[in-house]
Homo-oligomer: 199 residues x 2
């Protein structure tokens, strides 16, 4: 592979380490970056450095933020008695975009996965339990993904919290809005049937 210069090769290698970026995409990005104006490269590099240096975990909900507490935990307009548990900050953002959830969040930064060796101690579960002790929380909504890991995590958290007498719920699993029944997998169809609600 001596048809690319060393610096280009190093850049392709580094870009190729990012999730979802294969060798071809990394090459395309590398040549794009080399051809970018210097100020564009500076902005890109600065944004990476600044994010890495300044972003930290919110002391309350553990989402990634610039300050000690994130904008949601700091907001006086939120319902502090409800906490939605999500796997990561992008899932939090997905629910924020609906504009209809007004409680707080708790970000686990992962899900329990025995296959990958990720146990309850490897996610932000201890922080959630501490919040349940110190804050006035009446309901915990578990919004982990509808995957094996997400379901395992939901079951685990549910068993952990229920003895404390706090209401624990799980977001509904079923047919997505606009979804076409014939293209939906059987497990989802079964879940939708089991979770049917009276009209």
């Amino acid at each position: 592979m001596d048809y690319y210069s060393d610096h280009i090769k190093t850049l392709i290698d580094e870009l190729g380490r990012l999730p979802g970026v294969g060798y071809k995409s990394a090459s395309r990005l590398a040549f794009h970056i080399v051809n970018m104006p210097q100020e564009g490269v500076d902005r890109l590099v600065d944004s990476i450095r600044n994010a890495k240096a300044n972003v930290r975990y919110c002391k309350k909900c553990c989402t990634l933020t610039d300050d000690e507490y994130c904008p949601i935990c700091k907001s006086p307009g939120r319902d502090a008695s409800t906490v939605m548990v999500v796997e990561n900050s992008r899932d939090l953002a997905a629910y924020e975009k609906t504009g209809e959830y007004h409680g707080l969040y708790h970000v686990l930064h992962g899900a329990i996965s025995p296959a990958l060796g990720i146990g309850p101690a490897d996610i932000r579960l201890k922080e959630l339990m501490q919040r349940l002790e110190t804050e006035q929380i009446s309901e915990v909504i578990i919004a982990t993904n509808s995957s094996l890991e997400g379901e395992t995590t939901a079951m685990y958290i549910s068993k952990l919290i229920k003895p404390a007498g706090i209401k624990v719920s799980r977001i509904a699993s079923g047919v997505p809005v606009g979804g076409d029944l014939e293209y939906i997998d059987e497990i989802t169809l079964l879940r939708a049937l089991e979770g049917r609600v009276e009209l």
Copy 2:
């Protein structure tokens, strides 16, 4: 959008400017970068800075390289009488991977596109003509993409070079029309090389 911190938002914006990176991919990359170990972030940033600062055009074939001349132009084992004209360095790499082409290259860094306002003066065509005057070149193989712009460029170069009595060929069809050289399998690339026809 105040569910993401400012530094994360800036990073997502900058990553989203890269080709083929949409908002969702940019978010995924941004959170991955923030969660990377510091040394990984340093390596990524350094590779970007180094590539931008040190990569330049080869004085002979115009490909992107670290030194005055690229490894291929410097190699004594290459057949200096044959020059393959490609649109960019990734297309050069695609032909190098076949391991069956032993001539030199000339990288245009673009293709003639009246629609995009890219004329013959905007690609490295002047440099090619200078090479034909100073070097002992007996054949020019035009390996621009099999797109409208690539074909236009091939025709233009052919008409420009032929009066000088130099053999001009075009890689054969076999490369599917509308296809992008860098994404095509090596056997197809070889067939195209073997089946080149004189223009």
